[in-house]
Symmetry: C2
Amino acid sequence: MAGIADIAKAAGVSTAVVSRVINGDSTLRIAEETRKRVLRTAEELDYAPNAAASSLRSAHSGLIAMVVHDVTNPVYAEILSGAQHKATLQGQAILISEASALDDRASRLLRLIGGGGVDGLILQAAGGVSDLALARAARKKIPTVLLQTELDAEATLLTLPDIEAAELATRHLIELGHTRIGCLATREGLTFTQNRVEGWRTALDAAGLEVESLALGFADPAIDDGRLKTRELLEANPDLTGLVCCNAVSAIGALEAAYQLEIDVPDQLSIVAIHDIEMARHLRVPLTTVKMPLFEMGVRAIEMFAKRRNNSAGRVAIAQEPILVERSSTRNL
Amino acid sequence: MAGIADIAKAAGVSTAVVSRVINGDSTLRIAEETRKRVLRTAEELDYAPNAAASSLRSAHSGLIAMVVHDVTNPVYAEILSGAQHKATLQGQAILISEASALDDRASRLLRLIGGGGVDGLILQAAGGVSDLALARAARKKIPTVLLQTELDAEATLLTLPDIEAAELATRHLIELGHTRIGCLATREGLTFTQNRVEGWRTALDAAGLEVESLALGFADPAIDDGRLKTRELLEANPDLTGLVCCNAVSAIGALEAAYQLEIDVPDQLSIVAIHDIEMARHLRVPLTTVKMPLFEMGVRAIEMFAKRRNNSAGRVAIAQEPILVERSSTRNL
DNA sequence: CTGTTAGCGCCTTCAG
DNA sequence: CTGAAGGCGCTAACAG
């Protein structure tokens, strides 16, 4: 395992020169020939800088940890995709983990977070599972980006245009002539849930429609929970003709629920979902969705760790507008 | 940022004791009281071991890199899920990356791989993009697990029961009375592609059916490529009544192709897919699939890095049997 | 049983 | 313009 010293010796220079050549130190004035020779020698000896030593010395690892609830969720996958893409461009790599991994006191990720092993932390927080990680991060001054959910004033909150998206979805149904429109929201109490519910309410209000408080349900972003909660919602409100699902995954469950209850979509019930995952168009009933800038969100999350160094906390809204993608799950009344 | 020295001083012991107490060194005989005190002091000072220093010294980082083609692919997500789960239990964390990230010479991941920054490498290799990473890994003696695809004798090859799965899928169609059964395989040339094609052939042979070589197509695990290649396959072989798709994602494309060609599934064409992703049951036509032990594969991949230390290369087959999950995309002729 | 000490491999002043 | 040297924080071997 060739080290910096070996190549210094082989090239007939000092270790300092090697280090600076390798790291492309621009303040270094050196004969072009020597530079070439150093590089060549490094290549020949198959030199690769030791990652641990380098981070020990430089105090940053080039690693960003991303903590999500369920690595299997296609919505998050889109975010990861953006994050991974941008991270690569910035010379960073991404550690992925489910929030449950933080429960274990001895979890590696927790140790990395505590011990400066990561340069940044992206948290898709909900429910409070990751509070521990967050607390540690804060104490250690690790730059943290919160995805969509407020948790702590120290971290940057990155948000999607939730209100707009929900309004757009609701308005679409209204324009199709629907007047009794329910909402299957995401988990209760989260910032973005509140915003989406607000968007739904606002759109109904603006159209002079009555907001039936019973027509609001909450489901986790899982197909089965979506199915269950939609079922309850539909049974409690048999007169609904439109449903805004705040998450595409739970919307799949909603479709399922309607199917089980023998409610035809879209003839008897129109459904719009927030998040335009790829599967949406291939479902039993191709889903009308509102496309959100998820990939972009991943990109922005990573960017935060590059740009920053100055402004830490605060909120950053992703400006890109949500877009309505009409498919077959909605129709005029 | 409290260090080991601070807590040693505060607790009135040496740094060595602190280190060993913190790391739970079982060979250390120490008064229970002292041990408690050290732990308490560490807690009070909010001590967290420095990750870089620790890996520098101990020569392992607790990081496993997993390289896949497309983080958005639900099949891989299942594998990641298993890997993440097991890694957490083993006190390791997972670095995720798309293979394209390795193209960049300066990519962090590549540097980690070269510079001993990761303890292991899991490669879902195909096409050769990741050869560079692999070569580096081999040179640096980083334990590597290849997922499904043979690339290099130095690495452990972890395989699914591909032949059995394809046989099972094909046999299912045969039992339903089909005699003209095509195969939409995965990318040409890969080990597991060959195995699945072999399974298809074997099953046909065993039933005394003719293998029409024209009825074999290859598609990448993407919906659109699946659609395209199925279309070609179907147009070249209009008499097919059954199709074995070697990948669930391309199978979605196959469904799409049939729909576009106005071929009814399952009335005119029965489709079985390998890999039982969650979406399969929610598709336009709920897909009959062969469930493979993907989660298990993730778990096993990670286990390799714990158990090993002795046997490096070789192949490991995941024994768990593939299971047929009947849904609506297949019917008797 | 506990403490002292010598690096792990690199980067970065500071002399030369 | 280049080389020598001191740690970064921790661990493992070796004294005491």
